[in-house]
Structure formats: structure tokens, C-alpha cells
């Protein structure tokens, strides 16, 4: 049983190896091979899941140590796996959604001559992501952590001939590296504090360490989470990441990778519980980001970017929940799973739309597509309802719980967080409605593409629709199923622990409030985009709109401060290296040369002057000897 965990990671890794080293001969069959390996890991996950269910609730954990990785003195890092309910949840999500998206990609990438490599990268991503969630120590987690970063780099920049794609990929990796810095420092802190960084000992004995240390660790972990999960202030890469093929956006930048931060924080719960200041930081980041992302989402006309903003915001919710401590962990994960379904579905829908509109991404050039791609319309619609939290659908349950928990934090803090969460819900309703309306309703605003031909939208092939349908089903029922007598809560509780917060406002009130803001959001959107025709070119818009279009000037800030500053720094350093460091040495050499040139002149060729020097020398010699005697 335990050995299967390793296999779980190895299977897709094998797939990646086969596909990437396989060479051209695999070009045709590549996609299916990749899908096969993904499916294999899904099957293994299923077996493991069954195995866990087979046990009773409190020892549903599997531990396996493959081999000792870095044994150096007191420093022991093993390649070991730890599978408990938390990781299992992720494993299922990853393998499930992953497999579906492999399937989807078979159709979506059918016409790309480099699709073999695409599937190789996808498999690589699966392997890394699975390693991330089943690792039993932080260093190994770090490996998966960077592994997914690499995969995302490769996939964002998959269409490398597009400079924008290459840049986006680079940006994503480097911003993530900043986060990784946090993670590695956190690990070092753990090592110096506990002498180890394996989950077991660290989390068990977290309380024994000083709070200051723990806060430091917590903040560093938060930094890491911000990088991976595109939270403020490291969120800037996610929007650009949409340069990647849509399946990638769906899998990596919606369903799985970006949620790794939530996993990290939940997993390290024990540390955060003992470091309230760190928790405050977490919730702050979460709250800020959920509004930030929502606002950005409202302004974007590029369908994927709009969804990206939404993703950011939704993850903000999760982080917020995770920051609340035991009250929130479960709901963070729950929202994470449901979000995995509907957001993946939405992206796949978007992809399908683009597929039909020859890769047009500007929603202002869509319109009235519901007739042309019914399946897409239906699945997308269900995802839409789920995300805005339409009663009875997944989003409703998960998000509602989070808002409750936020209020339950208590005190002004609780009110602020709860308020933010509610506001976020309203905005979510607004921008998702906007997306919906712009895409599927209203009149056609299609424009000829660069080749000058009007798009003729059509429903996507079966390989693409089936995953969409499955995900749609998931996004409809998942939340409900989880909530039936708190099955999900019970499932996770042994790992994350759970505390019932007593909210100042009753659950019912919260639900009602949520409904109200939801309606308001939808109504405004309808007023703006449903009733009157939409201009094909975006109006100049208000100051906020314009700022939001540019990700609230985040990038401009980065550009001015970091990029420009960095350029100046490096350029001046190059100068320093050349003129100062090198100059000193060359200067010395030159001065010796000059001295030599001058002393050379003494050798003027006149025998008598030589005699003079000898005479003088003799005089000095005598004088010196006498002097020596004198002193």
C-alpha cells in the first residue's frame, strides 16, 4: 500500500521522461500516452483512497520512506511520503482534474506540431504537484514546489515564438523564486530551531519553540504561499500567465498549482496556530487579494484574464479561511476543491469558446454564442452559477462557510474580514455575470481576425466537451455532497483539527446577506451589459477601471522600481567592475611601467654619469657603514 504512494509520483514522471526523450516518433501517439500515464496515476489515487476509507477515521495516514536523500552530519533529508486525508484530497483533485484536462488537451492541441512536448510538460507538472502534496518533509515539498514552478514556466512559455509568452513565463518563474526564497528560509529556520524539517517532529513540537521564531517561520511560509498562489504582493505573474495554452490555465493556474499556497499554510497549521501575528498577516493578505483580484476581474476584457482575476480572488478567500486557523482550514480546502471544479470548467469553457472563435480572447468581440456552442454554454453557465454561489451549487456551500468563519473570527477584525468577504462575493457576482453576458448573450460582435475572415463558431469535439461536462457536474454537486452531514469536515478534521467559531451573526443572516449582495452584483452587471449594446472597443472608463485594467498599476510599479532600478544597478556594477576593481590592478601595472620608463632615463649612455653613480654609491656605502657604527 505505502509503496503505491511513490508510484503515484513516478507514473506521470515516467510519462514525462518517455515523451520528452522519446523523440519525433512519438509525435502522433504522444497525447494519448500522456493521458494514459495521467489516468494511471488517477487509478492509483483511487486505490489509495479506497485504502484510506477502509481504515477508521483516526489512522487514515500512510507513511513511506523511499530512500535517504541527503544524509550529511546532523542534516537528514529523506525522500519520504506522507499520505493523510489532506494530501489525499489534493491527490484526488490533481489526478482527477489533471486527467480530464489531459483528455481535453488531446482535442485542444490536436493541431500543434509540438504537442508531444506539451503532454510531456503536463505529465511533469502532475508528478511535481503530486510530490508536493505527498512529501513528508518540507525540503521534499520544496522540490515539488519548484517542480511545479518549472512546469508552469515551460507551459506558460509553450508558444515560445511569441515574445509575450516567453516573457510571461520568465516573469512567472522569477516572481515565484521570490516566494521560494521565503520557503527556503523557512526551512532553514526550522532546521536551526528543530534540527529537522520533517512534518512529523516539526508540527508536533511546534509549540515548544519560541513564538518569535514561529512567527518568522510563518511569515516566510506566507511569502512562499503568496508567490505560488498569486497573492498580493506577488500576484502580478498570474495575469500574464494566461499567455499559456488554455488547458494549462485551467489545470495549473486555476485548479491545482495556484492552490499550493493554501495547502502549505493548512499543512503548517500547527505553526500558524502558535503564531497569531503570522495568522493576522495571512488573513490580511487573503482579504486584500480577494478584493484586488475581484476588482481586476471586473475590468478585463480578455476572457482569460478576467477569469485569472477571479482565480486570484477566490484563492484570496481560501487564504483568508486558512488564516483564520482551525475554524477555517476545512472550509479553505473545501472551497479549494469546489473551486477546482468550477474554475477549471470555466477555463475549459473559455478555451472552447476561443477554439471556436479562432483564438479571439476579447469578450467584446464575442456575443450571442449560446446558440452556436450549446454544450459550452451550459457547462460554462453551471460553472458561473457555482462560482457566484448560487444556492445549492458548490460555490454556495464553500464560500458561505468561509464568510461565516470570517465573521466568526470575532471583534472588529471579524467584521472587517466578513465585510470584505461579502463585498468580494458581490463583486464576483458582478464580473462573472459580465463575462457571461458578454460571451453568450447579446448580439454578435464578431470581428474578422488578422487573416480577414469572420469566425464561424462551432461546438468543440467530444474530447473537449466531455471533460467540460464532467467538471460541470462536479461544480454542481460537489459542494452539496461535501456538506451532507459535514462529511468533508469529518474527513479532514483529524488532520486540520476544527473549532466551531461562534459568529456574532447567525449563519442564516450571513446566507441571507450573501444572497442579497449576489443579487445586487448580478443586477448591476445586467444593467450595464445586458440591456444596452456593448461597444466593441472598450470605453475609456473611469480612473479605477483604467487602473484595474493595468492590474491596479502593480506591473507599472514593478517596472519602475524593480526592473528599471535593477537595470541601473547592474549597469553601474558592470562599470564598477571594469573601471574600479579592474582599474586598480591595471593602474598598478601602468604605474610600474611609468616608473620603469623614468628610471630607464638614468641609463643615459654616458660612461661618466655611470662613474658618478658609482662614486655616489661608494660615498653612501661608506657613510652608511660609519652611520651604523655611530648609532
Amino acid at each position: 500500500m505505502e509503496n503505491l504512494i511513490g508510484l503515484l509520483v513516478v507514473a506521470p514522471l515516467l510519462g514525462a521522461a518517455v515523451l520528452l526523450c522519446g523523440g519525433r516518433r512519438l509525435d502522433r501517439g504522444g497525447p494519448w500516452i500522456g493521458t494514459l500515464f495521467a489516468a494511471a496515476s488517477l487509478a492509483i489515487a483511487a486505490v489509495l483512497f479506497a485504502g484510506l476509507l477502509g481504515r477508521d477515521a483516526d489512522d487514515r495516514t500512510l507513511d513511506a520512506t523511499a530512500f535517504s536523500w541527503v544524509p550529511v552530519g546532523g542534516f537528514r533529508a529523506d525522500v519520504g511520503f506522507h499520505l493523510d486525508q489532506l494530501s489525499m484530497t489534493f491527490v484526488l483533485l490533481i489526478t482527477g482534474v489533471g486527467t480530464l484536462i489531459h483528455l481535453y488537451s488531446v482535442g485542444y492541441m490536436a493541431h500543434d506540431e509540438r504537442r508531444r512536448r506539451f503532454f510531456g510538460y503536463l505529465n511533469l507538472f502532475l508528478a511535481a504537484m503530486l510530490l508536493l502534496v505527498v512529501a513528508d518533509n518540507y525540503l521534499l515539498l520544496y522540490v515539488g514546489w519548484e517542480g511545479v514552478g518549472l512546469a508552469s514556466y515551460l507551459l506558460i512559455g509553450f508558444w515560445q515564438h511569441k515574445p509575450s509568452a516567453a516573457t510571461a513565463a520568465k516573469k512567472a518563474f522569477i516572481v515565484n523564486r521570490v516566494g521560494d526564497m521565503g520557503l527556503s528560509i523557512a526551512i532553514m529556520l526550522m532546521f536551526t530551531t528543530f534540527g529537522t524539517f520533517a512534518f512529523g517532529p516539526v508540527l508536533e513540537r511546534a509549540t515548544e519553540a519560541g513564538e518569535g521564531k514561529l512567527t518568522a517561520v510563518g511569515l516566510m511560509l506566507l511569502l512562499a504561499a503568496c508567490g505560488k498562489s498569486a497573492q498580493v504582493p506577488l500576484q502580478s505573474w498570474l495575469g500574464d500567465a494566461m499567455e499559456g495554452p488554455t488547458p494549462v490555465s485551467a489545470l495549473i493556474h486555476a485548479a491545482t498549482m495556484v492552490t499550493a499556497g493554501v495547502y502549505l499554510i493548512t499543512r503548517s497549521g500547527a505553526i500558524f496556530n502558535a503564531a497569531p501575528d503570522a495568522q493576522t498577516a495571512v488573513v490580511t493578505v487573503g482579504a486584500v487579494t480577494l478584493l484586488f483580484g475581484a476588482i481586476v476581474g471586473c475590468a478585463k476584457d480578455d476572457i482569460k484574464k478576467a477569469l485569472a482575476g477571479s482565480t486570484m480572488s477566490q484563492i484570496g478567500y481560501m487564504i483568508l479561511a486558512a488564516g483564520l486557523g482551525p475554524i477555517g482550514y476545512v472550509f479553505a480546502i473545501m472551497h479549494l476543491v469546489t473551486h477546482g471544479f468550477f474554475k477549471a470548467g470555466l477555463f475549459l469553457g473559455a478555451g472552447s469558446v476561443m477554439h471556436g472563435m479562432n483564438d479571439e480572447v476579447d469578450m467584446r468581440r464575442y456575443g450571442g454564442l449560446r446558440k452556436y456552442m450549446p454544450v459550452t454554454f451550459v457547462t460554462f453557465g453551471l460553472g458561473y452559477l457555482a462560482i457566484i454561489g448560487f444556492p445549492g451549487l458548490s460555490g454556495f456551500f464553500s464560500k458561505d462557510k468561509i464568510i461565516e468563519a470570517a465573521f466568526a473570527k470575532g471583534g472588529t477584525e471579524g467584521w472587517i474580514l466578513g465585510g470584505a468577504a461579502l463585498l468580494g462575493a458581490a463583486i464576483t457576482a458582478y464580473y462573472m455575470t459580465r463575462v457571461m453576458l458578454l460571451t453568450f448573450f447579446g448580439e454578435k460582435r464578431w470581428q474578422p481576425d488578422e487573416r480577414g475572415e469572420l469566425p464561424h463558431p462551432h461546438e468543440s469535439p467530444r474530447t473537449m466537451t466531455i471533460p467540460m461536462i464532467v467538471l460541470a457536474v462536479g461544480s454542481v454537486f460537489a459542494g452539496g455532497l461535501f456538506s451532507i452531514n459535514d462529511v468533508f469536515l469529518k474527513w479532514l478534521e483529524p488532520v486540520t483539527g476544527h473549532a466551531e467559531g461562534h459568529s456574532p451573526v447567525s449563519a442564516l443572516t450571513v446566507t441571507a446577506a450573501t444572497m442579497v449582495v449576489l443579487v445586487i452584483g448580478v443586477a448591476i452587471a445586467w444593467a450595464q451589459y445586458g440591456r444596452r449594446p456593448v461597444p466593441v472597443t472598450a470605453p475609456r472608463g473611469s480612473l479605477l477601471t483604467r487602473a484595474a485594467r493595468r492590474d491596479l498599476l502593480q506591473d507599472d510599479f514593478n517596472h519602475v522600481v524593480l526592473v528599471r532600478g535593477g537595470e541601473h544597478l547592474t549597469r553601474s556594477l558592470v562599470y564598477v567592475d571594469h573601471s574600479l576593481v579592474d582599474g586598480v590592478v591595471n593602474g598598478t601595472a601602468a604605474s610600474v611601467g611609468g616608473l620603469s620608463g623614468r628610471m630607464r632615463k638614468l641609463q643615459n649612455g654616458y660612461a661618466r654619469s655611470y662613474a658618478v653613480s658609482m662614486f655616489g654609491g661608494a660615498a653612501v656605502l661608506i657613510a652608511a657603514t660609519l652611520l651604523m657604527r655611530a648609532v
Binding site: 544524509p71 532553514m188 529537522t196 519553540a209 547592474t570
Partner: protein, 533 residues
Amino acid sequence: MSFPLLTLTAAVPAVGAVATAAVPAGRRTAAKWLALAVSLATLVLAAVQLVRFDPDAKGPFQLTESHAWIKDFGVRYELGVDGIAVVLIALAALLIPFIMLAGWHDADPQESGSSRWRPTQGFFALILMVEAMVVISFEATDVFLFYIFFEAMLIPMYFLIGGFGDRAGERTEGGAAAQRSYAAVKFLLYNLVGGLIMLAAVIGLYAVTADQLGTGTFSLQEIVQARAAGKLDLATTTERALFLGFFFAFAVKAPLWPLHTWLPNAMGEATAPVAVLITAVVDKVGTFAMLRFCLQLFPEASKWATPVIVVLSLISILYGALLAVGQRDIKRLVAYASISHFGFIVLGIFAMTSQGQSGATLYMVNHGISTAALMLVAGFLISRRGSRLIADYGGVQKVAPVLAGTFLVGGLATLSLPGLAPFVSEFLVLVGTFSRYPVAGAVATLGIVLAALYVLVLYQRTMTGPVKEEVRGMPDLRARELAVVAPLIALLLFLGIYPKPVTQILDPAVRHTMSQVHKADPKPDVNDVEAAK
């Protein structure tokens, strides 16, 4: 003891060098194959060393040989390897064949000059000569013996850099590659000056030992034991002066900021294989010597100097990385990256923790392999386009995917991506430093961000984007080139996933060094975690 394995390992390439040089002008290819065969034989011998070496044996050195040499100078021909040495020897022996293979056509004479002018033979003979000297300086346990080859090594290196630089007419930052001999001279003078300053210290060491032990000696073990027994005790100032003398030479070789400026010139002007020889093989002698001689001969002074050295290496790390970002010449970029990495190595050595030092030693190995991979692929790329300027490339990935792929892997290794070998060592260094100097450790961590920056910028500018006109029709890696790169990459992966075989050889040696400097690892705040586990 009976069979002089160590001597043989050094002698084979030396003899091979002479033989190669003797091959008549017409038989160029024969000379190449001969040299390659010799290097492979050396590799075999190095492997035998690894096998014969017993990590858990008592005593600092194994396979020792000891013969009288220059009695008047107190010099003995003393060889012996510890875990660190044996691994580094293996590294050198491993890289040389690849270097030769990569430089297979670098030394083919363009115009047939005088019949006696035999560049090819010279090129390969010199490489073998360098190998021999590197090997023996890893093996030497006599300070003087080490010094001799540490210095003599410069001469063949000098000719390799100055004599076989990049083809003329190649586009470089400074125009035509005319600064080659400047680079060679710079390399030689920097290292020569370092060596001479070390010479003064060596003489000083002799004077001290002769003064206190009656007969002057250079034997590392003798001196160490004498100090342990209290028979030899250096005045604080003396020890510090001697330490500085030694360290200066090694810091030039390593190279440590601000003594680094020779490296970019040398690596830029030399052919890629020679550049690899410099940074991956020869420079390792410097860092190795810090561990073996600076720390073991002058433990107190080492501790005294640690703060300064830590700061210097931090500067090297960040400075090198930032300059790498600022480079417009591919090879110079790699050179500055190496400076940054050497900063890590020195940092690890002087963090005085077992993690730091194991990390540093492991780093030497990994950096050798990763730089070799990156630099050699870069060399293949440059040889195709005839330019070192990053700006002259673009979209290579489209026309030569395999080249681009291997280049990327090399790059990822350079930015020490987890799963590839350098990550392990870099992280060990960081942890080791952090546990003693948290601030330094944290600052050093910035290096990993900058590394990502310069590697990915390089990759983006050269490999991605629309295909440049000059790049169109560029051939992908040939079989020979692939045979060079593939094994290196495989090795990077293997050592990244399973470094244990190497670490378990290094570990005892590192522990010994730590005991020499009387330093113990700092204890974690929360103790007996292991017990609780």
C-alpha cells in the same frame, strides 16, 4: 601502500601528454584519439581510487605514498587522499574526456603554417598536462609539493587560454577577439602574484617549523600533529600572516571578489572547453586548498578571518550574479555566474558547520558538472553562429530544439533547481551558513532569485522569440556533441536525486576537518527532536 596508485593516476596523463605532443604533424587525428584514450585510462584509475577508498577507515589520508625528495627544503614526496580529494580527482578525471570531445576540432590549424607547428597535438597535450598537475595537487599532502604543482599548472593553462582562443573574426563585445593574449597574461599574472605571495608564506612556514621542530617540514600531517601535541605553536600574528598568505593565493584562484576580474576575461576569450577546464577543474584546486591547507594548518587564524571572508563571499555571490545579469556576452555571463557560485563554495567552507562544508565540497563537484554542461552547450551554440553576443541570437529553440533543451537543463542546473545536483549542495551551504550566521544565510538566499534572473533572461533572449535571420538553418546538436552533453545531464539528474554515494565519501573527511578547527555545529533550540521522532 605497496602499489603507487596515486602516482600512477598523475603519471599516466603526464606521460600521455608527452606522447601526444610527440605525434608527428600529419597525424592529427591519431593524436586526438591517443589523448582521449589516455584521459579515459586516467578516469579508470580515478575510479579504482574511488573503489579502493574506504570512507570509514581511520586516519585522515589513505592510499598514502611517502618518499624523500628535497631533504634540504624539508620537502617529501607525500601523497594521500581523503574523501574530498578522491571525489574531486574523480570529477577532474571525468570532465577531461568530455572537454576533449567538446574541443575535438577547436585546435585544428586553419592555415597550414610551418610543418613543425602542431597546434592540435599541443592542445591535447596541454590539457593532459593540466590534468596531471591538477590530480597531483589534489593528492599532495606536502605543502611544498602542492605549491609546486599549484604554480606549475599555470603555464599549460596559460598556453591553452592564449594559444587556442575563440576563432578570430568572431563577433564579441570588444569587437574582434584580439584581447585573447591580454586575457592569458591577466590570468597568469593574477595567479602568479597570488602564488608568489603564497610562496612567502610557505617559506615563512618552513622557517617557523625549522625554528621550533629543529628540522623544517612541509608535511601536513606532521605539522598538524605537532600543533596538536603542542610541540609547534605559532604566535597569533605569525599564524594570521601565514594564513593570509595562503588564503590570498587560493582566493585568486577561486576566485573571490575583488580578485575575480581575470576570470571573465579568461573564460570569455578561451574556447568553451578550456573555459570549462578553468572553472570546473583548475579553480577547484583553490577552494579545495582552502579546506585542506588554510583550515587545517591555521585553524585559529581561519576562525579569526571568518567574518571578513563570509562578507567577501556574500559580495561575490550577489555581485557576480548581478554582473551576470548585466552581461551581453554569453561566456562572460557564465563566468560571472561561476564567480557567484564560488562565493557560495567559500561561504560554505568558512561557515564552519558540517552542512556548510559538506555542501561546499559537494558544490565543487556539482558546479563542475553543471558549468561544464552549460558552457559546453554554449560553446556549441557559439561555434555555429560565430558570435558570443547574446543579442545575435533568438528563436534558436525553433530550429535546434535539442540544443535549446540541453541548454535549458544546463541553465536550470546553474540556477540550482531542485531535483538537479546543484540544488542539494547549494541548500546545504545555505543551511550550514544560516545555522551559524542567520543574516548571511538570508542574504545569500537572494542569490537564488538573481540566478533565476540571469539564466532565464539568457535563455529567453537566445532561444525563444521569433527566429533570427542568421540563426535560421542552424544545425541541431551533432552526435559527438550530444555524446558530450547527455552524460553530464544524466549525472546532474542522478546526483540531484541520489547524492548519497558522494556525500557518504565526503562526510568523514568533512568531520575530520571540523575537528581540526575545533568547531561543532550549533545545536537546535528544540533539542532531542530526533528522540521524539
